[in-house]
């Protein structure tokens, strides 16, 4: 078995290291990084747009390039999360929580470097994971039935509450509002539209981009404008500050390890794998930290853990596609389309029928990650300098890129009206100290949660015991309860203390 892996990886590397494939990996990574940095345009539309371009390439080169765009966009997305509080996709939302405060303290360089290094490490581990345990892990994911998914979503939402650094009650409220917003649109089961008020643009649900761009990015711009001019971000461009300090490293590496482990496992689950992984990692770091109060104010573990987790998950999310022919998220669905276009049937046969393709892709994942770290570390200096551009010139550009990105997802003005609405909503929330991150997680997981709850209860004919009868589901629920106890006890104690002071 071990010998086989080495042999297989050798096959893969010899395929992936051809000059042509290296070139396409580089092009993909560069494109992905650039696109990830433009707030508003995420990897999904980019890959979709570039798909026809890759039709003319050989299958391996085209998959390598598309995968490069995917990782590249993730790196780029972290960059905007840290610099301007603008997450490009759900899995980089948690990066804003501590990454952006770090940037405000002039530690953008350290945050970006740690994100890049953590991602690289996670990418390496993820690659080995795929090579060694791909089929085994895929089998595990196949054991998940509706009740298990529901319980997993419950656990995820409790994590969202725990990671909030303000009031737990408000965080629960935010999660619930997020769940409710996620249900807007057509109900999968009955085909009935819910809360659409006759607006046909939201019949298929509220799009992710207007929500997240409004709540995070644009609200941040407004808050900055409310503060006094020019002194917004203290910029430190001394080389010393571009690199994480020794203390930063010491705090980061255990977080990177834990994030990588969480991400590798959660990445194989369909649906919100990468999103859950980043939230789970943040929650974990905050729970085991000696001083949880640093979180939300620029704790480097809060960047290192989730960034490693989402990158590891990005790698392992290839497992269900390559071994079962099941796409675990929208990007994998596009990759599946790309394989089919080249006449390759995604599934277990890929490994046996096209070993050079399978192992070539695995090898290229490592190469892509290495390239990204090489591309991105020198760029850190440039990005940090970008913050030195006067804000009065920077914010119109940020706004314009956002609106173009939002508009181009569906070529519709209604998307921008939604963005404006969520900006106002987000502003109100901030004024009342309600954090938007739990809301977004609820929004992403809401539909998955409802569908699986409904299915589980159809199968059990309405008997809720199904959630404790299945071992996977029961385990997840026990974890949930443990987490609640951990989260609620300090809160109760604090409230009681406050009450006693009255």
């Amino acid at each position: 078995m071990d010998i086989n892996i080495i042999h297989n990886l050798a096959t893969g590397f010899s395929a992936a290291l051809s000059l042509q494939n290296l070139w396409f990996a580089l092009v993909g990574c560069m494109l992905g990084t650039l696109i990830g940095v433009l707030p508003g345009i995420g990897p999904i539309p980019t890959i979709a747009m570039l798909l026809p371009v890759t039709f003319g390439l050989d299958p391996l080169s085209s998959l390598i390039m598309l995968a490069g765009i995917y990782y590249g966009a993730q790196y780029g997305g972290s960059t905007t999360s840290i610099l301007v509080n603008m997450p490009g996709e759900a899995s980089s939302i948690v990066t804003t929580l501590d990454g952006h405060p770090m940037a405000k303290q002039g530690r953008a360089g350290a945050a970006l470097s740690v994100a890049a290094l953590g991602s690289f490490f996670a990418g390496c581990v993820g690659t080995i994971f795929i090579a060694a345990f791909g089929p085994v892990l895929a089998g595990l994911a196949q054991e998940f039935n509706s009740p298990d998914y529901f319980s997993l979503m419950v656990l995820g939402l409790v994590m969202a509450v725990v990671l909030a650094h303000g009031s737990v009650v408000k965080a629960i409220g935010m999660v619930l509002i997020g769940l409710l917003l996620g249900l807007v649109g057509t109900d999968v089961n009955s085909g009935v539209t819910r809360y659409t008020f006759g607006i046909s643009e939201i019949w298929d649900g509220i799009d992710f981009l207007p929500l997240v761009i409004g709540l995070f990015g644009i609200v941040e711009v407004i808050r900055n404008l409310e503060q006094h001019d020019e002194h917004r971000v203290p910029i430190s461009t001394k080389i010393r500050d571009l690199w994480p300090s020794k203390k930063d490293f010491q705090q980061s590496w255990p977080a990177v390890l834990r994030g990588t482990a969480l991400g590798s496992v959660l990445g194989i689950l369909p649906g919100g794998g990468a999103v859950l992984a980043s939230f789970a990692s943040y929650t974990m770091e905050k729970k085991i930290a000696k001083d949880p109060s640093r979180f939300g104010k620029g704790a480097i573990e809060g960047v290192a853990g989730p960034e490693s987790a989402n990158n590891a998950a990005a790698q392992t999310s290839f497992i269900p596609l390559l071994t079962l022919g099941l796409p675990s998220n929208a990007i994998m669905a596009i990759m599946m389309g790309a394989m089919i276009i080249h006449g390759i049937q995604p599934g277990s046969a890929v490994m046996t029928k096209h070993p050079e393709l399978f192992w070539g892709m695995v090898a290229s994942m490592w190469i892509g990650n290495a390239m990204l770290v090489i591309i991105n570390l020198p760029m850190v200096g440039i990005w940090v300098k970008l913050l030195a551009v006067p804000y009065r010139l920077l914010y119109p550009a940020i706004l314009l890129f956002c609106v173009i990105g939002v508009y181009s997802t569906n070529n519709s003005s209604a998307q921008l009206a939604l963005t404006a609405a969520f900006t106002v909503f987000g502003y109100i929330l901030i004024r009342f100290e309600c954090e938007p991150a739990p809301l977004v997680l609820g929004f992403v997981l809401g539909p998955i949660m409802e569908e699986n709850l409904r299915r589980a209860l159809v199968f059990s004919r309405g008997d809720p015991m199904i959630f404790i009868q299945r071992p996977i589901s029961a385990t997840l629920l026990v974890l949930t309860i443990a987490l609640i106890i951990l989260a609620v006890i300090p809160q109760i104690r604090r409230t009681r203390d406050v009450a006693f002071q009255e």
């Binding site: 999904i44 539309p45 890959i47 979709a48 747009m49 798909l51 026809p52 039709f55 003319g56 390439l57 050989d58 196949q142 054991e143 998940f144 039935n145 509706s146 057509t186 999968v188 089961n189 009955s190 085909g191 009935v192 539209t193 046909s200 643009e201 939201i202 019949w203 298929d204 369909p270 079962l324 022919g325 099941l326 796409p327 929208a330 990007i331 669905a333 596009i334 389309g337 089919i340 276009i341 080249h342 006449g343 049937q345 995604p346 599934g347 277990s348 046969a349 997802t409 569906n410 070529n411 519709s412 539909p447 569908e451 299915r455 159809v458 199968f459």
Partner: protein, 332 residues
Amino acid sequence: MKQPQKRIPLQPRRSLLAGAVCGALLCMAPFMAGAQEYPSRDIHFICAFPPGSGADVLVRHFAEKLRPIAKRSVIVENRAGAGGNIATEYAAKAKPDGYTIYVHAGSAVAANMHLFKKPPVDAAKALQVAATINRQPFMLLVDAKSPYKNVAELTAAMKQKGAKATYASAAPTGSIMGEIYKRVTGVQAVEVSYRTAPDSLNEMLSGKLDYAMHDPVFALAQQRENRLRILAVSSGTRLKAIPEYPTMTEQKVPMDLTGWWAAMVPTGTPKPVVDQINQWFTFMVNSDETTKFLNSFGGDAWSNTPEAGQAMLVKSIKDWGPYVKLAKIEPQ
């Protein structure tokens, strides 16, 4: 609305050989004479699905293939939402000059006339089918480990199970196929809805679900992997590409549910332009690689004159009314 026929057969596009391009241009030469002035600028394809979905890939594939033939840029505009209604309305109200072409499932346009209380346009009047692309059935599937080898065996077992039986669907076509099956055979299985067909796989394999009505892309892939078994297809006649699978009709459950894709333009588009588009698509659809590829996904390449295509649209709209009522789908 649930989008009818979520999974659409994707088309092959190996690197286009220079020879093929030249051949294409030579073949096109006579057609060009008919409409010298069209196309004189960029052509826009309207896609009713978001970027990256299976259907989007199909539309982009044709866009890419048309480019060298039409010698113009072909831009894909995604106007997703409202089960395709937004794109339908946009395409129907575009200028009828042939520069806005709606590449979408004609069967879905027809179905939406009944799935919505107030369809945005009267499709048969507002849209002109310029060319058809393919036809594809839905499929009845069971776990490959199950003992059922044909529909009769499944029916017998499901009747025994009564209301304890369950089945999966992930699109209105699947729902309708399931209802017709239950109506004809008297099976009382409970429908479980999924967002996409792959979502139902774990529960098919764990035995929670007894059978499923799914699209051919998913069905054929799982049949190939030996995880699921196809018992029958929903079209009226067997498909040329997959003659080994019997129709539901042959298996004593009469039905004809066939999805078909088309290139549509707003009504009022000049006839020479419509004919030009028809010739382009007929040429592309009948190229060897495209036909072969459509086949491997359980759909047949299917080209028609604009008139026959339009007749198909009118017939589909008529057929879908009773289907939607049968499946007890509440129009929105």
